[in-house]
């Protein structure tokens, strides 16, 4: 397997850099196009190998193209992430110190909550607290203006980039999915033994079972089993930067 970067790899990297995160089918299309344009060897099922070549060259910069799953629909996503925090990466932010502080506090609320959501009211309160300390009144008002009603959770990109950080900083306070063993911000939880599963993972695991049972303690699984969509769509994903949801009660039916 070749480990040389080609213009095909470089173009893929440049496009991914501009998007930040990309849905699986979009990435596959991009892979094909990049190889076609630059006459590079292409095998439609070798995207991960293609990406590995790039990752080898990104190592010295503590950057990586990572593959992850959306907690929403179970689709695969590829994102360019930062692996280390340095003096230099700290210069990268588009946000002010106070905005970052608000984000950190919001992330706290989301992670510690049972549901994996923070309501707009929660966030307003956090902004209010910051207002008394260091956030200028004008800044806080800006946040309030832009905040829409609803519930907020972490975007797939955030989870992918910060998984290691969250796991090591929150440790026992966060859940890992019993099926795929990745961080789970939102999950269905067994009332008896406490293990959790991503909604899409639960959907796959319990697929077409009339009487679902917890894989750990065998108790009846009390939650609605999410329906899994076949992610065959070739349409590009239109995931917005921040996600907003209407208040939900427990699990969602898809």
């Amino acid at each position: 397997m070749a480990t040389q970067m080609t213009d095909g790899h470089r173009r893929f990297l440049q496009v991914l850099m501009s998007h930040g995160i990309m849905e699986g089918s979009v990435a596959r299309t991009l892979h094909r196009d990049c190889c076609e344009i630059h006459k590079v060897y292409y095998a439609h099922d070798k995207l991960d190998d293609f990406i590995n070549v790039v990752n080898i060259h990104l190592q010295p910069f503590f950057m990586q193209i990572r593959k992850g799953m959306s907690e929403d629909d179970g689709r695969t996503y590829y994102a360019l992430v930062n692996l280390a925090e340095t003096e230099i990466t700290k210069m990268a932010s588009d946000y002010t110190e106070n905005e970052l502080e608000l984000f950190r506090k919001t992330m706290d609320v989301i992670i510690i909550s049972e549901s994996g959501f923070a309501s707009s009211t929660d966030i307003l309160n956090l902004a209010d607290q910051l207002k008394t300390k260091k956030m200028k009144k004008k800044e806080a008002e800006q946040v309030l203006q832009n905040l829409r009603d609803g519930e907020y959770t972490l975007h797939t990109r955030c989870i992918m980039e910060m998984e290691q950080y969250i796991l090591s900083n929150y440790q026992d306070l966060v859940r890992k999915c019993n099926i795929c063993h990745s961080l789970a911000i939102q999950s269905q939880v067994c009332e008896t033994c406490g293990i959790g599963m991503h909604l899409p993972c639960a959907g796959k695991y319990f697929k077409a079972q009339t009487e679902p049972h917890c894989p750990h303690c065998n108790e009846f699984w009390p939650h609605e089993i999410p329906e899994i969509n076949r992610p065959d769509s070739q349409l590009p994903s239109s995931a917005p930067r921040e996600r907003r949801r209407t208040p939900s009660s427990g699990t969602r039916r898809r």
Partner: protein, 276 residues
């Protein structure tokens, strides 16, 4: 964001030597650089190169040109004596891994930008966001300037934009403060130049293409854009076509390409053939 990395400086004896070198002329000779390099471990130099690459990528995100003084202060620090080697290698790495070229747009003040090295496509696949609209506005302005003979008075540009219902005096739904965007942001990013016309009282200003515009696009590409909108052949504008073709033939590269082997970091100027 897993662990904090502490940048390691050179050991005590090496630090003293390098600090002494700082007092010397800004561009040490090739042999001086070689001697300094030999004192440092390859790993130390490699690390500095990686840091510089990261720094350049981060700084270029906002499209603000990067000053050598900032590079020296924030990244190079005690490794000044081998600056030229580090920046040369960083330029090479940017090309090899990212397909980006490190270009010195101001050889006198040592200011850099990053430009993509990859051949331009009809459709680029890059993310469409608020910046895309601004680039659209910019393209219109660059087109106007080129068709008007490479420069136009400020008043002419506003007049043209007003006809497109973009009024510098009125807050725009997408662009906000149009005057600020065009005279400040685009100028800061080196897409446009905004210069005072001499001997004018009250002072009048004119716009020209900036160094970044010249690097990111070309007269021919802009002419083709104009031709496409007007549904004509680019050759319909013979003066502009001749000028655009001449720029293509000459390579048009008046700025220093950092990644050329054998550079001593900004010491020489000259026209280069642009690689396509």
């Amino acid at each position: 964001m897993a662990q904090k990395r502490r940048t390691k400086g050179p050991g005590p004896s090496q630090g003293e030597d390098l600090a002494a070198d700082e007092d010397f002329a800004p561009t040490p000779s090739a042999s001086q650089v070689q001697r300094s390099l030999e004192r440092l471990s390859p790993a130390q130099v490699d690390q500095k190169v990686s840091e510089l690459v990261q720094y350049l990528l981060v700084k270029d995100q906002k499209k603000i040109p990067i000053k050598r003084a900032d590079i020296l202060k924030n990244v190079i620090k005690d490794y000044r004596s081998v600056y030229s080697e580090i920046i040369k290698r960083a330029g090479r790495t940017l090309q090899q891994v990212f397909g980006l070229q490190l270009v010195e747009i101001d050889p006198k003040h040592h200011i850099y930008i990053l430009v993509s090295n990859l051949p331009r496509l009809e459709v680029e696949n890059l993310k469409q966001d608020d910046c895309t609209a601004k680039l659209g506005l910019l393209t219109v302005i660059l087109s106007f300037l080129f068709m008007k003979g490479n420069a136009a008075k400020e008043s002419a540009v506003w007049e043209m934009l007003r006809r497109l219902r973009v009024d510098p005096g009125v807050r725009h739904e997408v662009f906000g403060d149009v005057k600020k965007l065009v005279t400040e942001e685009f100028v800061r990013q080196k897409y446009l130049e905004y210069n005072r016309i001499p001997h004018t009282d009250p002072p009048e200003f004119e716009f020209q293409w900036g160094a970044r515009a010249a690097k990111e696009t070309s007269k021919m590409q802009i002419l083709r854009f104009v031709a496409k909108i007007q549904n004509k052949d680019p050759r319909a504008w013979s003066t502009q076509y001749t000028e655009a073709a001449a720029e293509e033939a000459a390579g048009g590269d008046l700025f220093q390409d950092i990644s050329t082997p054998g550079d001593t970091g900004g010491a020489s100027q000259g026209a280069r053939r642009r690689t396509r």
